[in-house]
Symmetry: C2
Subunit: 315 residues, 2 copies
């Protein structure tokens, strides 16, 4: 059986793990800071060190799977550029790692890779048509359709956070305005909360109004869980925006399961209830809702690592 | 080789044709009014008569492919309901036709079926990742991804006309508000033109302002081609709305070719130029535009019939 070293490269942390078979519990793993600001050469060297640390001595039947923040070209194995990793521009990551590690390497967009993990081992297990959305600092996506990862002609498909929802709205991570990510991800929730507070809205965090710049998405989430009406309404608004877009995506993809992960999904029913309501309210025909399951992601922080294992195994 | 009788069932006309092989020029064909108002039994009987008229005596290796306005379940072969065919509700069309014609039957959503036609014989030939949009009275869609028709779990995928573009906007054919179809298909163009005219805007059609209810999409199209500024601006507005949604769809699907058909696409550059501009202006990364081709559909009215042949042959 194929053995896999999986790598989950994030802007903050870099994880690597060795999976000797298809058991999703790795035999060994390592986690280090990415030190992204040191530039691509240093990060690639760090990836190689992490791989060496967990890889077995016998490298026959070994493959490496890597999840990387996109956009990237998984066919050519090139990271085009990525806001989270300064200086990465058209970096041939696949070739670089293959030259240094001397085993086949497969790279994939981190959200696509997490979708693979949730599909094979998480909340999407058993289904062939899955929509995966991860909501945290940004909004990423991955689609499984007919039992295959949706890639598109250059492997750039599944960027579901970049649907236009508010023309002329907030600036998105990609540079455009009003995308779903810019209007409903974690930073949008914190920003809207601070704006309302600054405009005089009452909240349990009003006492901190003198330091409104410091209020984070996590603060808003805690306040909402404690019953703060303003925090709840801001979260509901983001959930509504996401649910409306999910309706459009359901018409496009007709999924069996929608899996929602990422830090913001930890809000639980505060997010899911209004999101599901908006989805239902905007569906063109009830048949799309028959047997549709909307589930929180179940692999947590391991989705990327386990997904990179799936990527290497099934590509 | 498989022989196919293809049927294109529309709200107005019903066409059937016999394709003895994979040549897209049928050996025989027939076209009759659908008489949709007479209800499903009469229409089904008329479909059977049309099939009998073109089908060969030797029915070995014969299949029937039928394109029908959705939503429908192609797996079970059931038309759920369809605004264009009064009285059709959960009609088991596949079973009914199989019983009467005694050959295997495959049914598909008309826009999906047209996408298959354009893929194999039209403007999408040679590509594996295609977005097909048909803009006429409504807006329908079909997606080919990785060389397969995107179906989703129940075959309901590809309803690209039902993305929300204007919350609380015009009522859509599906009953919801503000969908792409409601804001940018032919009737929306005519409606917006009449509204502007009624509000006092000047146009070469101003003389007909006493009969503004009579101005059709075709009138607006002709006026635009003759240089009428109001007609052009209304068409540009619709094209902009469509182009913006195409950008979102390109992020989701990363197609190689976007094929645009339907009556409104006959406007040519008046539609395509502003549509492509809006698409480009809203793309998150230029890499999506590399080698992306945007092409008018090339099969015209035959897309449905030829697509139904492809459906029967490849399913």
């Amino acid at each position: 059986m194929l053995k896999v070293v999986a790598v989950d490269l994030g802007g903050t942390n870099l994880r690597a793990a060795y999976f000797p078979n298809d058991d999703p519990h790795p035999e060994s793993q390592t986690k280090t800071p990415t030190h992204a600001q040191e530039g691509p050469d240093a990060v690639v060297a760090q990836i190689v060190r992490s791989i060496e640390k967990v890889a077995p001595d016998d490298r026959r039947h070994l493959r490496i799977g890597v999840g990387v923040p996109g956009p990237l070209d998984p066919v050519e194995g090139v990271v085009l550029d990525t806001p989270n990793l300064p200086g990465w521009l058209n970096l041939p990551l696949k070739r670089l790692l293959q030259e240094r590690c001397r085993v086949p390497v497969v790279i994939g967009n981190d959200a696509n890779v997490a979708a693979l993990g949730e599909w094979r081992y998480g909340a999407g297990r058993g289904a062939n048509d899955i929509l995966y959305l991860t909501i945290s600092t940004g909004i990423g996506g991955g689609v499984i359709t007919g039992g295959r990862l949706l890639l598109g002609v250059k492997g750039l498909a599944g960027e579901l956070g970049h649907m236009l929802v508010n023309p002329g709205g907030a600036v998105c991570g990609c540079g455009r305005r009003g995308h779903l990510e810019a209007e409903a991800a974690g930073p949008a929730i914190a920003r809207k909360f601070r704006e309302r507070l600054a405009a005089g809205a009452h909240s349990s965090l009003t006492d901190r109004a003198d330091a409104t710049q410091e209020i984070t998405t996590a603060d808003v989430g805690r306040a909402a869980k404690d019953g703060d009406a303003l925090a709840r309404s801001v979260i509901e608004e983001a959930a509504h925006i996401i649910g409306v877009q999910l309706a459009s995506l359901v018409h496009a993809f007709n999924p069996q399961v929608i899996v929602v992960g990422g830090g913001v999904s930890a809000l639980g029913p505060l997010l899911f209830a209004p999101m599901e309501q908006a989805l239902r309210d905007n569906i063109m025909h009830p048949v799309y809702l028959n047997d549709l399951k909307i589930a929180p992601a179940s692999l947590g922080d391991d989705a990327g690592l386990i997904g990179a294992m799936v990527l290497a195994r099934e590509t």
